[in-house]
């Protein structure tokens, strides 16, 4: 199947996986392996000095996965930029998933602060993957400032509601010159397959895998769904039948030629 290309780097897998909400590092590591993913997101938080848990980074084999730090927790551009810089110092990686979420209830991304931060981070030579609401204009503006992808949400983080933003996603996919990675709210493998059939370049899944009864099996299900969806898309499916309502002939006048 065709490869995913982001910032001149090729990937076989079109499933990105998040590492939050897993019951344990071991389960997380197994699920990542089964998912076949090549890009894994992580977040940054203050160390809990009173009670430090094991560092989960050690459970992620960095020779196998590209670590993609996110700036979750940032409520404005400055905080996001700071987190991105910290992540870069810590890992040497200049890829960042830009998340600016001032709203603590739905964790919806702030479009204005995201665009602001994206522009600055691109200038600092980061490979920026911005998380946004499914806003086609914002997508084009981010592309204009040089982000490597756009990551529109399907529905709010953790809601598992699937492609609530379908109509807007279709427009983004049609108009985008950079890869479109549908992120957030994909609750079932069928949602992921659906997104891929629509023409998305990749999807990111976290909650649906981490909180399943059997995360490893769910990871495998998502892997298969993403592959199936992509294969279907590139095979050129026949569209849903649209019956044109019969009206009087429009080209009859040509018969006399």
């Amino acid at each position: 199947m065709d490869k995913l290309v982001i910032a001149n780097r090729e990937f076989h897998s079109r499933l990105l996986v998040g590492t939050g909400k897993f019951a344990s590092s071991e389960i997380m590591a197994k699920a990542l392996k089964v998912s076949g993913t090549e890009i894994v997101t992580v977040a940054l938080r203050r160390v809990n000095i009173e009670n430090e848990k094991d560092d989960m980074l050690v459970a992620i084999d960095r020779s196998k996965y590209l670590l993609l730090p996110n700036t979750s927790g940032a409520r404005d551009a400055d905080e996001a930029i700071r987190l991105a810089r910290i992540a870069r110092v810590a890992t040497g990686i200049k890829w960042v998933k830009l998340e600016v979420t001032p709203d603590p209830y739905y964790l919806l991304p702030d479009p204005v602060e995201t665009l602001k931060a994206a522009e600055i981070l691109v200038k600092e030579d980061f490979v920026v993957l911005p998380y946004i609401n499914a806003d086609p204009i914002l997508s084009k503006k981010l592309e204009d400032v040089g982000t490597a992808t756009v990551m529109p949400l399907a529905s709010p983080i953790g809601s598992n509601q699937g492609l609530k933003t379908r109509a807007a996603l279709e427009i983004i996919i049609e108009q985008s010159n950079v890869p479109v990675i549908v992120d957030a709210g994909l609750g079932l493998p069928s949602h992921a397959a659906d997104a891929m059939e629509m023409g998305a370049d990749a999807v990111l899944v976290n909650t649906a895998i981490a909180t399943a009864d059997d995360p490893c099996q769910m990871a495998e299900a998502f892997k298969l769904a993403v592959e199936a969806g992509r294969l279907a898309y590139i095979s050129g499916p026949a569209a849903v039948n649209r019956r044109a309502s019969a009206s009087s002939p429009l080209t009859g006048f040509l018969r006399d030629e």
Binding site: G20, F22, A43, L44, D55, L57, N70, R82
Partner: protein, 70 residues
């Protein structure tokens, strides 16, 4: 008493017992240096410099590490 603000919380040290470097602070707190990023008064400190970076009273220190996230 000498004070350092660590992760938003003020921590008091008896006079003269302030950890002299970042590395020493981490050792005292029982935090593995390999897993954290340190920020002093907003400046990011690289891990290689932990042993050389001196601490002064009144500074604000952020210790950050990677956790699971989407």
């Amino acid at each position: 008493m000498e004070v350092l603000r660590i992760n938003g919380v003020e921590k008091q040290f008896p006079e003269g017992q302030l950890p002299s470097t970042v590395a020493k602070l981490l050792e005292q707190l029982g935090v593995k240096p390999a897993t954290v990023v340190a920020e002093i008064d907003g400046q990011i400190i690289e891990r290689e410099k932990f042993a050389q970076t001196l601490l002064r009273k009144g500074q604000s220190i952020e210790l950050i590490r990677f956790v699971g996230g989407g």
